[in-house]
Symmetry: C2
Subunit: 406 residues, 2 copies
């Protein structure tokens, strides 16, 4: 008897999470002997629990499907819903009832480590109750911090966007002939992979960004003062890249250094990032021109500078996940194995989702150099293959065309 | 006797100010019967006064010249130097001495209205002392606020970047199924042209951004509360685009509404934008999820999404300026006349630089609609032709290649 696929997206958007969705849909429709429908949860498990889903194998034209492949953010909508730890909770019973009612045989969830936690719980519940439904995680995160995979879909495009943007900001900062510091705050609460990619912005050795700080090394204002003093001796325009999540040796976030004073007109606490804190520190301690730039959500959701490699790998992860589930796998996450560095070659494999969820892969400490303010050249052969190629986007009236649910 | 060209860049960077430089250099080298060298001031007039210049007709390879055309920010470096009002100041005598020593016949200055002020003063001084040197302004500003020209080079690419970025931020904001407001702060202190371009982000009528506020209309918190309340009835994810320079009816900048309380840990005033002020206002008055995104310098210096029309027109403005100066014009700025709307056609002309400098062309009030929170569809035929086409950039190892001075 034929079964159906149910696919969902969860967690923060990336530029290629929809390429994985594309991979799942197209692969599912390749197996019409085994698969009848590919359903999509609207807003992940949370939405599905409210019966919100769509038939992706029926409702999409081929043109829409191609658009979805290169559309950033989550086409199906996303959620930040955590299933209860206790597998005896009635929510599992309800959810499986709904899965059975839809004749679901394969459940694919595209997300980061919180989403892998969902896959872990559901597959363990299935084992417990003897359900034949197979659960598969498709990795996704710009943070590149999932365990047991060489890298994650989403990272390559975000890294490319960050490197290019920092290169452009460096040009912008170089036009005036005066001492000036630009602090660029990049995403990454716990892991510095994305901020590390800013090193690629250098057009030549010794170029900006001169200083790069990751969350993996404790940030210290005294060392920073020394680093910046030396950097300003090298050139008047200094670019500093920092992860949003840098903290001091005690673990206190640098962005919290302003807490006490950050009240607005209405007496409420204001939230800002570590870039603003460092901007003020430089202004007060160096007395020179300084600005901070928060690259913000565009680094995860921009479709302007996708990595074709990333898009193709994201789609491949989706397809591989479907094939693996059809072959009988459950409770797994699709992982990337790098089989060759030069020329780069990658193949998909499966890892135990329980070994992935709720863990974080830090940026390797031996790649953090220069008194923890620089990135080793050894990082280059790792990251460069991931940012190669630019897919051709659909354009209408001068702007990119993106898919959206009607 | 052959003469030399001296070209400079001044004011803030744009994505196509180097395309104008490219136009000046290539056109200059087309006239080798009249022109011997094309010199470039390093850091504008300020740098030239310190004898900082380069020979652009000698030192650049053809490949470098092509790279310059698509490199954002100012290849020659820029300055924010204002010549004294008093034309008897010795700085004029010094400057003209230097110009004569270099056998300069044609002085081209690429910039916004402050730079046109420089062209105005120098041409008036030349007339006064009977100097034959001809002074020509080449327009440049993402703000699109220069008088007597249909639009300015730099605006099209910035508008395209803004529209595309806001479209992506809207996708990013739409993934969760909850009420959430995103405030996007865009450049524009006095003129709202660039913020108005965010209306192009809409994929369909009634799409985000639902609210758009320009500096040309006074901002009022009570109206804003009403506007947002209504917008939240239309959809849970509301995107609001605001110019950095919005102010209240008394002229007080909205970004200054936090002044009193904005002290950091060290007791110093902190500077933020109006986006942050509105973010806090929404958080406190609506009690819903809200974030602000400052698109920042990338909107003026990104080369990711250039408008080919803008690049070509910027280069044409540079070429036209050289030809006009050779033909005897001085004290002029190159302007754009739109001769046809559909299909769009434009031709260059000359306007009196004295009529341009130190003035600002506001966004037309009859295009500000919807109780001053929306943009009229009449704006579309004006702006759309300016964002068309994407030039092919040089890419190396997955990243754009940009020219820089060695």
């Amino acid at each position: 008897m034929k079964k159906n696929i149910l696919v969902g997206q969860s967690g923060g958007p990336t530029a290629v999470i929809n390429a994985s969705l594309y991979g799942v849909i197209t692969e599912g429709m390749e197996h019409l002997d085994e698969i009848e429908h590919v359903y999509g949860m609207i807003h992940g498990v949370e939405g599905f629990l409210k019966d919100s889903y769509t038939d992706l194998s029926q409702d999409l034209t081929q043109k829409e499907l191609e658009l979805i492949r290169l559309t950033p953010a989550a086409y199906l909508g996303s959620c930040r819903y955590k299933l209860p730890k206790d597998l005896t909770s009635p929510v599992y019973f309800t959810l499986f009832k709904k899965l059975e009612a839809l004749n679901i045989g394969y459940f694919l969830y595209i997300g980061g480590n919180d989403s892998m936690d969902t896959v872990s719980k559901l597959s363990r519940y299935a084992a417990q109750v003897g359900s034949p439904i197979r659960f598969m995680g498709i990795p996704k995160t710009i943070d590149n911090d999932l365990m047991l995979t060489d890298h994650t879909p989403g990272y390559g495009s975000a890294a490319k966007y960050v490197a290019s943007t920092v290169r452009e900001i460096s040009l912008d900062a170089s036009v005036y002939n005066q001492q000036a510091v630009t602090i660029v705050e990049l995403m990454g609460r716990g892991a510095g992979w994305l901020t590390a990619a800013s090193v690629l912005a250098r057009k030549y050795e010794q170029d900006n960004p001169l200083l790069i700080y990751l969350p993996e090394a404790p940030f210290d204002f005294q060392s920073f003062t020394r680093d910046l003093t030396e950097a300003l001796r090298r050139r008047p325009d200094v670019i500093i890249c920092v992860s949003e999540g840098i903290s001091d040796v005690s673990g206190r976030l640098i962005c919290e250094y302003n807490d006490e004073a950050r009240l607005d007109n209405f007496g409420h606490k204001m939230l800002t990032g570590c870039g603003k804190v460092l901007e003020n520190f430089v202004r007060n301690h160096f007395g020179i021109k300084v600005r901070s730039v928060e690259v913000n959500v565009s680094q995860r959701c921009s479709g302007m500078l996708l990595s074709e490699t990333d898009v193709n790998e994201a789609a491949a992860a989706g397809s591989f996940g479907v094939r693996a589930a059809l072959d009988g796998a459950t409770g797994k996450m699709v992982a990337f194995n790098r089989t060759l560095d030069d020329p780069y070659a990658m193949e998909c494999s499966l890892v135990d989702v329980n070994e992935v969820c709720n863990k974080e892969k830090p940026f390797p400490s031996h790649w953090i150099t220069g008194r923890t303010n620089d990135i080793s050249p050894e990082f280059y052969p790792y990251v460069l293959p991931l940012i190669q190629g630019e897919p051709k986007r659909a354009v209408s009236r001068g702007l990119p065309v993106y898919a959206y649910r009607k």
